[in-house]
């Protein structure tokens, strides 16, 4: 997946993943100590989404910081871009909302919870892509028009997105069990599953880059790298 050719990009990827590995667990730890872990479905936990939004935005600024200025079209289009992006994000959120309901979420009630989950998924999947690459490339990516395997950063972002969706999918497994635990409430397991999937993906990225750079010295480690390669969903 990653190549060692572009050292600067590789460093950016690693550091942004490291940041995620730090800030997400800290958010989770804080809310679980405040006994708020099982209220993540309520609208009152909106601040978590805001925190993630800010963090992802900062990360995307960092990721695109080194890029050349000519790519930007100028400041007068910025406002239009932002409006377009937010409309696009709302559209994606609605798609997630519908998709989640199709997968079995209750469709006459619990809209607040479903909405929170779909906005989290939007934040974790499409938002970083748009913030990094812009709207049009993101749409092209989604429909497979453009091949993205060259770009290390985009590759990482897509991988993160897939892991987040997979985590939310897997989280639904515990809902039917009749244990009557608070964490079986809709949408807590899916919400936490998405966060864990996202975190997992970042942990994998960091460990892989570390191992790859170590493997230049110790070739034995290549075996582990190959194993990790298989875990990437983006294939």
């Amino acid at each position: 997946m990653f190549s060692l050719n572009n050292q600067a990009e590789l460093r950016k990827v690693t550091i942004s993943s490291l940041i995620t590995c730090i800030y997400l667990p800290s958010i989770i730890t804080v809310i679980s100590y405040k006994d708020l872990l099982y209220t993540v479905g309520n609208g009152s936990s909106f601040y978590i989404l805001v925190l993630i939004f800010i963090a992802e935005l900062l990360k995307s600024f960092y990721l695109s910081s080194g890029e050349d200025a000519p790519k930007r079209k100028g400041s007068k289009n910025r406002a239009g871009d932002i409006i377009k992006a937010s409309i696009y994000l709302l559209g994606v959120m609605f798609c997630f909302f519908v998709g989640i309901i199709l997968f079995g979420a209750p469709f006459l009630d619990n809209h607040e919870e479903t909405l929170m989950l779909s906005s989290l998924l939007t934040l974790l999947t499409v938002f970083p892509l748009i913030a990094h690459a812009g709207i049009e490339p993101a749409m092209q990516l989604l429909f497979g028009v453009k091949n993205y395997t060259r770009d290390t950063v985009v590759c990482m972002l897509v991988n993160n997105a897939l892991w987040a969706v997979g985590g939310a999918w897997l989280g639904a497994v515990v809902i039917p069990l009749d244990w009557n635990k608070p964490w079986q409430q809709w949408p807590v397991p899916c919400y936490l599953g998405a966060l864990c999937g996202y975190l997992m993906s970042n942990v994998l990225t960091v460990s892989k880059v570390t191992l790859m750079s170590a493997a230049t010295k110790y070739p034995v480690l290549n075996i582990i790298v190959n194993c990790l390669d298989r875990l990437h969903m983006s294939k």
Binding site: V98, L102, F103, G104, F143, G144, A172, P176, D178
Partner: protein, 937 residues
């Protein structure tokens, strides 16, 4: 193309293997009991002469005792009614565990359920001769329905009581109620309506209340309280039954250790005090629990806590003197014989209990002996009759027991002193316990050997067929099946059956069926194993070269997941949601793989059609909320439902008609007939007779359409398959009724979406043929998931209580016809498993469906692909079947085995049979219509 029919034969062979293994499993697992319709008769003592014979001319110059002595001297005399002078008040406190009745003043911190019934201990201390308290041991299954059956018949009800009328809930056997009705006695019922449903039209007065609102602790109890005190003051009854539910419901909702349980038990205490106060002098009071409960308040299994109920009896004039300890263990089967004896009747015919003398009034020695011999005579009659009707108990065993009983009856005439009587009572108790244990072994214990053998056979069949269908390259399949493989296999099976039959006639084998299933299963395993070994090079090469895509692996994993979750009761309860979740995920990954806007749209359409079936999903007791507020189960469709049904049918007919050839007219006519059937039969203005005529017309057209399909089509098998699927759709809507008809349309729609998505799958890799992604096992897994889902999607649920019998009668009562039973069985089968059948028949379409028309591959490969697909589809259901059987084996001592796992096993078997039959029909249709194409090409 001679392999064509070999394909079909092989599918039959495979179906036989699976079904025979499951039937063998069922023999070991599903315990059954034959119900007999015999009724105990007795001759009143007044019509017996002094010589002990009936209607003798001698005038009454002798006392009752002398008469009884004379009867005892004659062992072949008929049953004689014992004298009666009491009435019986039977109070059933549901789930009254024995330790609820104990009172221990030394307890410092009694739990919520302890020390709440002091009235019993107080009475025991005050009048030890008037009161008795026993441990009342229930047999599993400890559910109220089975317990009430056991209490009134004195038998051991099993999960399946084989009787002539399987639809009705009414008890078909002799019971206490029937016995007392014979004497023109009257019975009153207050409380739980299970009694009224089990024994309708036998009550002098009844006040029955719906019992399944398990969260309602008080309604039934207060209603019974409002009536019982008045009833106790009247004297126009001989038996008063009052069934209180509060304690059981408190256990279900809160568990035994909860303040609510304390409240309900204290209420029970007050109630008992009041009843004892106003109890008529000639009435015996029996307060019993039908079962206990676990520490979580559940019941149904066979743990000690669930089995130990309490039996408290009180009789103001005092019981027969007894030195037995308080709290001795008494079987629940004894209640029927005891109550009958108290009311002056012999025990009911199927009773296996004995008369519990310590809770009966003092009788003379002769009277006691009369009760005991009546009991023995009834049991010996039952042994004889059961031996005639069923071979479950070996003849030697029965003869031995019969002889022992007869000897015991003969001995009765020699008993005079109190000591001899005591010994005699003990002997009778031992004998009846012995008899009861023999029957218990047959009715309550599993045959683990045949269960394990059946599992092994299933595993063999699945494993080798999986290797054949997955491993053997598609190019080789026509050659394999045009060889002598299938004929030699079938000959092998025939030889096996012949050998088994010969051995059976030579009396070397005792169980013919078992032997045939086992030997044919093993020989088929050997044959398929040989095939695998011969083609090992091809198989290994294919596996080495294949690189399955992610969605293919995922689809297989999803199928195995859907099978694996059958081990967990919570997933079985929510299986509908699980299956739709998995099917939607698999389709989503396929759509992701194709990744076009159109495919995405199809996926959304599929998801919407699955989501639209959600309002139709059934609801079972365990799911809680929806159960209590449920009113959907009513058979009458609402106006909106009728409009939806007519609309969906009209839409399907009008859309499908455009693409069908002349054979489609049959489908159109059948559709119109069924629409007319619903419309004419709807509401109070409808005419049921005409509506039923129209339904019959629709069935006639459907059957004719199937015959029309026999005319060979020159354009391949696609069109006949579509028409077969559509006809089955109409059949499904007919049996589902107007209320659930739209679900069949939704099933058709989602099937169509899947067909179109599958046709879009990219075929990558030049080496593979264009078909390779179409007969892939992932597609078959997806189709199987969908077929299993629509069992739930069409409003069914895997519980026996949920089965609606309306489907049998929608076209008139078939009982008057010659083949009425077979016809009603077929209708029932279609209404339950019509969806797997429909999906099974249309399986070949997965390989044949394409908008482009002709496929580039040759007919031989195409036929092989269809065969492979059908085999894989059947395998998917076989895997699920295996998982269901395995989970039933693992959980055979589980709390919910009779509530959740066994019904799931039965329904999974039905779905498996439907899928096997469907894919067989589909493959046959394809093969039938392939010939002309072959000749023309």
């Amino acid at each position: 193309m001679k392999e064509k029919w070999n394909f079909i034969l092989y599918l039959l062979w495979f179906s036989y293997l699976i079904i025979s293994a499951v039937v063998m499993f069922g023999h070991g697992f599903l315990l059954s009991r034959k119900t007999l319709s015999d009724v105990s008769e007795c001759v009143p003592l007044s019509s017996i002469g002094c010589d002990g014979r009936e209607i003798s001319n001698s005038t009454g110059g002798c006392s009752e005792d002398e008469k009884i002595r004379a009867i005892l001297l004659n062992p072949d005399s008929p049953l004689v009614c014992p004298p009666r002078s009491q009435r019986v008040v039977l109070i059933l406190v549901d789930a009254l565990r024995y330790d609820f009745t104990e009172y221990n003043a030394d307890l410092e911190n009694p739990l919520q359920y302890q020390n709440k019934l002091p009235v019993i201990t107080n009475l025991l201390g005050k009048w030890p001769n008037r009161t008795r308290v026993f441990r009342f041991m229930a047999d599993p299954p400890t559910t109220t329905l089975q317990r009430i059956k056991a209490l009134v018949t004195g038998s051991l009800p099993t999960f399946v009581d084989v009787s002539s009328n399987f639809a009705a809930m009414e008890i078909q056997e002799d019971n206490i109620l029937d016995q007392i009705l014979k004497d023109k006695h009257r019975a009153i019922l207050l409380g739980d309506d299970t009694w009224a449903r089990l024994m309708p039209a036998r009550w002098h007065r009844k006040h029955a209340l719906y019992s399944f609102h398990t969260w309602d602790l008080d309604t039934v109890d207060t209603e019974v309280d409002s009536k019982i005190y008045n009833e106790l003051k009247k004297d126009d009854w001989e038996l008063l039954v009052a069934h209180y539910l509060g304690v059981d419901h408190a256990g279900h909702r809160y568990g035994p250790n909860h303040a609510e349980m304390a409240r309900k038990l204290s209420e029970t205490n007050d109630r008992l005090e009041k009843i004892i106060e106003i109890l008529p002098a000639d009435a015996i009071l029996y307060v019993i629990g039908d079962h206990g409960m676990t520490e979580t308040g559940d019941h149904g299994g066979e743990s000690k806590a669930e089995r130990t109920a309490a039996w408290f009896s009180y009789y103001p004039p005092g019981f027969r003197a007894d030195d037995g300890a308080i709290g001795k263990e008494v079987q629940q089967t004894n209640l029927a014989a005891t109550v009958s004896a108290a009311l002056g009747r012999p025990p009911p015919a199927p009773s296996l209990g004995y008369v519990e003398l310590p809770v009966l009034p003092q009788m003379t020695t002769a009277g006691t002996l009369l009760c005991l011999t009546n009991n023995l005579k009834q049991i010996s009659k039952y042994l004889l009759r059961y031996g005639e009707e069923s071979q479950q108990v070996s003849l030697d065993r029965l003869t031995q027991l019969l002889n022992a009983t007869r000897t015991q009856i003969d001995l009765a005439s020699a008993v005079y002193s109190e000591l001899e009587l005591r010994h005699y009572i003990e002997d009778v108790r031992l004998l009846t316990d012995n008899i009861r244990n023999v029957f218990r072994e047959v009715w309550v214990e599993f045959d683990s050997l045949s269960m394990l053998r059946a599992l092994l056979l299933l595993l063999l069949a699945i494993f080798f067929n999986w290797i054949i269908s997955e491993g053997v390259p598609i190019e080789r399949i026509p050659h394999v099946f045009s060889s002598s493989f299938v004929p030699s296999g079938l000959i092998g099976i025939a030889v096996c059956i012949g050998v088994c039959y010969t051995a059976f006639t030579l009396e070397m084998l005792s169980d013919l069926e078992h032997a045939i299933f086992l030997s044919t299963g093993l020989i088929s395993g050997v044959f398929t194993c040989m095939l695998v070994i011969m083609h090992w090079d091809g198989i290994t090469q294919k596996w080495y070269e294949s690189h399955p895509l992610f969605y293919e692996r995922f689809a297989r994993t999803a199928l195995f997941a859907s099978a694996a979750v059958l081990v967990s009761n919570s997933y079985i309860i929510e299986e509908g949601a699980v299956l739709s979740f998995l099917a939607l995920s698999v389709i989503g990954l396929i759509a992701w793989n194709v990744r076009t806007i159109k495919c995405l749209g199809l996926w959304v359409g599929f998801g919407v059609s699955l989501a639209l079936t959600r309002p139709y999903l059934g609801c079972r007791e365990e799911q809680g909320d929806c159960w209590t507020s449920d009113s959907k189960n009513s058979s009458n469709a609402s106006r909106a439902a009728l409009v939806l049904a007519l609309g969906s049918m009209a839409a399907v007919v009008s859309i499908a008609r455009r693409y069908l050839d002349w054979r489609g007219y049959g489908f159109v006519i059948a559709g119109i007939f069924s629409c007319a059937h619903w419309a004419v039969g709807w509401g109070s203005l409808g005419s049921p007779g005409r509506s039923k005529m129209l339904a019959r017309g629709a069935w006639l057209v459907i059957v004719c359409t199937f015959f029309l399909l026999l005319k060979r089509d020159s354009r391949g098998a696609t069109m006949p398959l579509i028409i077969a699927g559509l006809s089955l759709y109409v059949a499904n809507t007919l049996v589902l009724g107007a209320a659930f008809a739209p679900t069949a349309g939704l099933a058709l729609l989602s099937g169509l979406f899947v067909l179109n998505i599958v046709a879009m799958i990219k075929t990558d890799g030049a080496g593979k043929s264009a078909l390779s992604s179409r007969y892939n096992s992932s597609i078959a897994c997806l189709w199987a998931l969908l077929a299993s889902y629509y069992f739930y999607g069409s409003g069914h649920h895997a519980t026996l209580g949920h089965v609606s019998w309306a489907a049998v009668f929608h076209a008139g009562d078939p009982a008057h016809l010659v083949y009425g039973h077979a016809l009603s069985a077929v209708l029932m089968f279609i209404s339950l498993f019509g969806m797997p059948l429909m999906f099974g028949v249309t399986t070949p379409l997965l390989a044949l469906w394409s908008r482009a028309g002709a496929t580039p591959v040759g007919p031989r490969t195409q036929m092989a692909a269809v065969f492979s697909l059908c085999l894989k589809f059947s395998l998917c259901f076989a895997v699920r079947m295996f998982a269901a059987a395995l989970s039933a084996t693992i959980h055979c001592r589980h709390l919910m085995i009779w509530g959740v796992f066994t019904p799931k096993l039965l329904f999974e078997f039905g779905a498996c049979v439907a899928a096997l039959l469907g894919s067989f029909i589909g493959a046959t249709l394809t093969a039938w219509h392939f010939t002309t194409q072959h000749r023309s090409s």
